[in-house]
């Protein structure tokens, strides 16, 4: 995929995104002239070998890191022009995150973790919506427990719910199943799928696992900082196949 034509359907998109680390001899082009958009209400995976730039792309699009050149947008807001305070507000209101680990504050209960972004923003949660989300997480009476009393799958489901709590325009996931076994991984991914289907949530996830990618609606393939391919409605096999021939 190259040029972005219409941006109206995109929860987030970037144009000519380039990210270069280091200088001279040690220069690394993590991203090179990438233009891509993520449609609202879809679940997108970004795949690629180690060092392909998939994490960099996600971090830049989420406003965690800045581009060397090019622009990234969340909704219609261009990120490079934002100050720290505005970026913080954007993350608070428009973006959700799911990390591989360290997702939850160990000292807060599961429920407190879910409402954390809203509490940080100082807004009162939409009770109806929160109830719906929490019901979907399906923790039941374990909501009052601390993260270390929950299973790995439960912890990540709490993390997804937390990401959804502020009804963000887009949720970014950084290998959300990287730290768990395959059964737990399936549990988490199904939950993410549910979030997209039931709540119309937009999710972008970085992963290196074809099985994980098969839960999404669309897969982008990155190699050496450039988007080399993409696939709609992937299956584990087709993704695996594509990955094998990625370098070719």
């Amino acid at each position: 995929m190259s040029g972005v034509t219409s941006t109206a359907n995109f929860a987030a998109y970037c144009r000519n995104a380039t990210k270069i680390y280091g200088k001279g001899e040690t220069e690394v082009r993590a991203l090179y002239d990438v233009s891509v958009g993520f449609e609202t209400g879809r679940f997108t995976s970004i795949m690629g070998p180690s060092g392909s730039g998939k994490s960099t792309l996600m971090q830049c699009m989420a406003g965690l890191d800045s581009l060397t050149s090019g622009q990234t947008y969340v909704g219609s807001v261009e990120l490079s022009s934002l100050k720290d305070k505005q970026l913080t507000e954007l993350r608070r209101n428009q973006i959700g995150f799911i990390f591989q680990a360290f997702n939850l504050i160990p000292t807060l209960s599961a429920e407190e973790n879910i409402t954390l972004p809203l509490d940080l923003a100082g807004t009162t949660p939409d009770k109806e919506f929160m109830k719906q989300v929490i019901d979907t997480v399906g923790l039941g009476d374990r909501l009052g427990h601390r993260p270390n009393e929950l299973s790995g799958g439960q912890q990540q489901r709490v993390a997804v719910a937390r990401a959804m709590a502020s009804r963000p325009a887009i949720i970014f996931g950084d290998e959300p199943t990287g730290n768990v076994d395959s059964k737990t991984g399936a549990e988490i991914l199904s939950f993410m799928q549910l979030a997209v289907r039931e709540f119309g949530q937009t999710i972008v996830m970085v992963t290196h696992d074809p099985v994980s990618a098969s839960y999404s609606d669309r897969v982008l393939f990155l190699a050496d900082g450039e988007i080399v391919d993409e696939m709609q409605n992937p299956t584990a096999d087709s993704v695996f196949d594509k990955m094998r021939h990625l370098g070719d």
Binding site: A62, L64, K85, T88, G96, F102, N103, L120
Partner: protein, 945 residues
């Protein structure tokens, strides 16, 4: 809301990690509030004593004690007493006289040994209360003194002399030995002072004040208002005498006490603030470490929308809470500190019964001080936490915060300001007190600045220190000392413990060489509990020493051997070195806490050593005198002593020294001090080193010599004439015969002959006497004869040069011990700081420790690694402290006038002790954290994230 919740939960989760921080605040605040409590408690006691002493008094007549020139605190003619008593408004008048000075009357016990309370003075008054009630004194046995052979003494003195009511005691008095009958025993506690009381006529006679009174206490006739008494008395008063009412009398009396109390309080407060200052660095370190340990969590919070301010606030709220907890505990601890100080004074002889006064001010100040200190220390870590980027949530490794350029810049700036203050102070432009203030402020700035900067070189320094053999030597020495000390403490502690339980009964130690047997009786009651507790504590401490000593010794020795053979260091030392160098900022802050305490110890030692050397120099070079005569409390010497001394065989020249205020340059001139000596002996007794002129004309009372300072100040030259007004109002025109270069022996600005001074003030006190021994005379015999002569007079002391030097040195040493003891608190806080850092570092490296253990490091090796790290950090702190201490010591010597200290001397032994102490601190600080680390299960440790 959520921020507070996060902070609260953060504290709850890190309770163990914050414990030592709380302890640091508690100790600092405890000492601060302790010094307030002790001064408040004392103040209240003295207020109530004064109130009690003055309760029956409606008015007091006293000389106007205006210190300004021309109004000598005179005495009141006794005739005034009858005039006042004749007034209708007055019911009773009591006259009062006191002996000016202390220890004028010293009782001899049955063996003829003079008995004194040691440090505090013996005060001698007339019995001033109406018949049976001495004002403020409580008669516990016998009756008030009455008649010329009658005396009342206080309980403690009676005990020391071994006498009861009705028995006779021989006293040394200013007029020779005299026998008095002890008719009364009184109780009155005032800081361990003793009292000897006569009736009024006897007092007047003994104090050479016949026909005179020092004060009168007046009771109004029934129904007469005190104000009426005052106005009735007013017209009767001669010049220089005033009458005041009860309130004013109490206020004046309290003022003297309160001054002493506030000085004591301020000294304690000063040391408390030093300890608090040290704890700032520990608090800083804890928060910095907590932040770096939570870096991913903070990154995650930032990623999901927490603003910088919110992150900062979580740290601030934690700091406030820790500050509140530490301060509240500190106030409680302050009560303990106050009790401890009281107990200390009590053991030194007498401390008034005091309640414990905890005023609102104490609580408020303690809370503010504790919380502000914690907040200030948490400032940098909080801002650093705010700057953590959201990306940290995704990175797997916590990044080591580098040495921020801002920090280095600010550090350099603050250091520069500090050094500038020191440098500017040394120009002397601000006067002596200004200079010392500048030096103090400069030192504080330099400490902070160096603390910020030292992160720059902490890594390199630790690498360099750790690589060398000397660390091995330090470890070896520490090990040996811990072994020896451990045995001593353990044995001593166990003996005390067993003895304290009382199962041994009395223990009799046979006296050596005919000395009396010593009998030790087991304590009972509170003493027993204290003995047992202290026994157990020392025993435990000894055990800890014994546990860590041998290992430190073995490790140190191994490292020493390694470096002797020119081989590489041991692996343990190497890992320790790298660990200490890995977070230079943390190593620096830990070392800084230790640095401050040790720098102050060094500073004080350098000043003390320089003072000793300077004094020795003066004694050797500028003093011709072989003998010195002075009194213990600076009271005047007997008038006939110099003459008596001259009559002794072998005495050459004798010179008397006096000092009085004069007004220079007529009625509007400045009041200055002038000294006098026996001009006929010239410089044979003390060497003044005239830079110009001579002593010509001094003996006839027509000339003076002036100090270089005065000459420089006023542009005076030899040959000029000065207008000098004396206290009797006479102005003399005196020629300047010479200029004194050596101002060591002058209190004042000029020196004249005794005869001239006595012309204008015939009872100016003799402050000291110097005498030389003639060439060829038997020095030992002459010295003994002079000392014998002195022992006939109370409180007269005769020194030879050696005595004087010893006296001066023991005085200085005593002061050094006291100051260093108080600085010990700062070192204790710093010690906990080292423990704190090591504990937190071990926690942070749990995974790594597991890995090292998994690949085959033994428990002992692991403990060795941690111990070396602590030793290296402590040694770094000690060396920094010594460097800064010497710097400030030299600056201090420069700032103090040359007449007091004129040369710098470095106390090398003390510095060596400080270095060894840093080794001990390191070994002991590492003990508990190292044990804890060694107990970790390697697999669990690796699994820790």
């Amino acid at each position: 809301m959520i921020i507070t919740k996060l902070s609260l939960r953060g504290i709850r989760n890190n309770l163990g990690r914050l414990a030592l921080t709380v302890l640091a605040i508690t100790l600092g605040v405890g000492f601060v509030s302790g010094s307030f409590i002790i001064s408040d408690s004392l103040g209240k006691v003295f207020d109530s004593i004064v109130e009690r002493a003055n309760q029956n008094l409606d008015a007091r007549v006293q000389p106007i004690t205006d210190d300004s020139f021309g109004q000598t605190p005179g005495t009141i003619p006794e005739s005034l007493l009858d005039d006042i008593l004749a007034l209708d408004e007055v019911a009773q008048v009591d006259g009062f006289v006191a002996y000016e000075g202390a220890n004028g009357f010293i009782g001899l016990d049955v063996d003829g040994e003079p008995q004194t309370p040691g440090g505090p003075p013996i005060l001698t008054f007339s019995w001033n209360g109406p018949s049976e009630e001495g004002g403020g004194f409580e008669l516990v046995d016998g009756s008030a003194p009455s008649g010329e052979n009658s005396v009342a003494i206080n309980v403690e003195q009676a005990e020391a002399l071994g006498v009861g009511v009705g028995e006779e005691v021989t006293f040394q008095t200013p007029t020779g030995l005299k026998v008095f009958s002890v008719d009364g025993i009184v109780s009155f506690t005032a800081g361990g002072a003793w009292f000897t009381l006569f009736d009024l006529p006897t007092g007047q006679q003994q104090f050479d004040k016949v026909g005179l009174l020092d004060a009168m206490e007046i009771q109004a006739a029934p129904g007469v208002l005190p104000s009426a008494v005052l106005s009735a008395i007013e017209p009767l008063l001669p010049e220089g005498v005033e009458v005041i009412d009860q309130a004013q009398a109490s206020a004046e009396d309290s003022e003297d006490f309160n001054q002493v109390i506030s000085i004591l309080g301020n000294i304690l407060l000063g040391f408390a603030l030093v300890a608090l200052f040290v704890s700032l660095f520990i608090i800083y370190n804890t928060f910095a470490i907590l932040v770096s340990q939570r870096i991913q969590q903070i990154g995650m919070l930032r990623a999901i929308g927490a603003g910088r301010g919110q992150i900062r606030n979580t740290i601030f709220i934690e700091a406030i809470l820790v500050g509140v907890i530490g301060s509240v505990l500190g106030i409680v601890c302050g009560v303990g500190v106050a009790e401890l100080i009281k107990a200390l004074f009590e053991s030194q002889g007498g401390f008034p019964e005091t309640g414990t006064v905890i005023s609102l001010r104490t609580v408020i100040v303690a809370l503010i001080v504790g919380i502000v200190a914690t907040l200030v220390s948490a400032l940098l870590p909080a801002f650093k936490a705010g700057k953590i980027s959201p990306v940290e949530a995704i990175r797997n490794e916590g990044v080591q915060p580098g040495n921020g350029r801002v920090r280095v810049l600010v550090g350099a700036l603050i250091t520069a300001v500090g050094l500038f203050a020191v440098g500017y102070g040394l120009t002397g432009a601000a006067g002596l007190s200004g200079t010392l203030t500048l030096l103090g402020a400069g030192a504080v700035f330099t400490f902070v600045g160096v603390a910020l900067l030292s992160g720059l070189f902490a890594g390199l320094a630790v690498q360099a220190l750790g690589r060398s053999g000397p660390v091995g030597l330090l470890g070896t020495i520490s090990g040996v000392l811990l072994l020896v000390g451990g045995v001593a403490l353990l044995v001593g502690g166990l003996v005390a413990l067993v003895f304290g339980t009382g199962i041994t009964g009395e223990i009799t130690v046979p006296g050596q060489d005919g000395a009396e047997d010593q009998v030790f009786t087991p304590p009972s009651g509170a003493g027993q509990v204290v003995t047992i507790i202290f026994g157990a504590m020392f025993g435990a401490l000894g055990a800890m020493f014994l546990f860590s000593g041998p290992r430190a010794l073995a490790d140190g020795f191994r490292l020493l051997v390694h470096s002797f053979r020119g081989g590489a260091e041991t692996k343990m030392a190497r890992i320790a070195r790298e660990n200490a160098a890995r977070s230079p900022q943390r190593t620096a802050a830990t070392a800084t806490a230790l640095m401050i305490g040790l720098a102050l110890v060094t500073l004080v030692s350098v000043l003390g050593q320089s003072l000793k050397t300077s004094l020795t120099d003066v004694l050797d070079n500028s003093i011709g005198a072989d003998l010195f005569v002075s009194t213990e409390f600076g009271e005047p010497l007997p008038d006939d002593f110099a003459a008596a001394l001259l009559e002794l065989e072998g005495i050459g020249a004798v010179s008397e020294y006096r000092s009085i205020p004069i007004r220079l340059g007529g009625p509007d001139g400045d009041v200055l001090r002038a000294d006098s000596f026996t001009a006929s002996t010239g410089e044979s007794v003390l060497t003044y080193n005239l830079s110009e002129g001579s002593f010509d004309g001094l003996s006839d009372g027509t000339a003076v010599v002036v100090t270089t300072s005065l000459a420089d100040d006023r542009g005076l030259r030899v040959g000029q004439t000065l207008d000098v007004e004396f206290e009797d109002g006479v102005t003399e025109q005196l020629a300047i015969a010479g200029i004194i270069a050596n101002e060591n022996f002058t209190n004042g600005t000029m020196l004249m002959d005794n005869s001239l001074l006595l012309q204008h003030d015939d009872d100016a006190p003799i402050e000291s006497i110097g005498a030389t021994i003639s060439a060829g005379a038997d020095i030992a015999a002459t010295t003994d004869a002079a000392k014998n002569l002195g022992s006939n007079y109370p409180s007269v002391q005769v020194f030879n040069n050696d005595d004087l030097q010893q006296e001066l040195e023991s005085g200085i040493n005593g002061l050094l011990v006291l100051i260093n003891g108080l600085l010990g608190l700062a070192l204790v806080v710093a010690f906990f700081g080292v423990v704190n850092t090591i504990v937190l570092s071990v926690l942070e490296r749990t995974r790594e420790i597991g890995l090292l253990r998994a690949v085959g490091m033994t428990r002992g090796q692991l403990m060795s690694t941690i111990r070396w790290e602590a030793i290296m950090v402590s040694l770094f702190g000690a060396l920094l402290g010594i460097a800064l201490g010497i710097l400030f010591g030299i600056a201090g010597v420069r700032a103090i006038p040359d007449t007091v200290i004129d040369q710098v001397a470095i106390p090398w032994t003390t510095l060596a002790v400080i270095v060894v102490m840093s080794g001990l601190i390191g070994v002991l600080a590492a003990y508990l954290p190292a044990r804890r680390a060694a107990k970790l299960n390697p697999l669990d440790a690796i699994a820790t994230l």
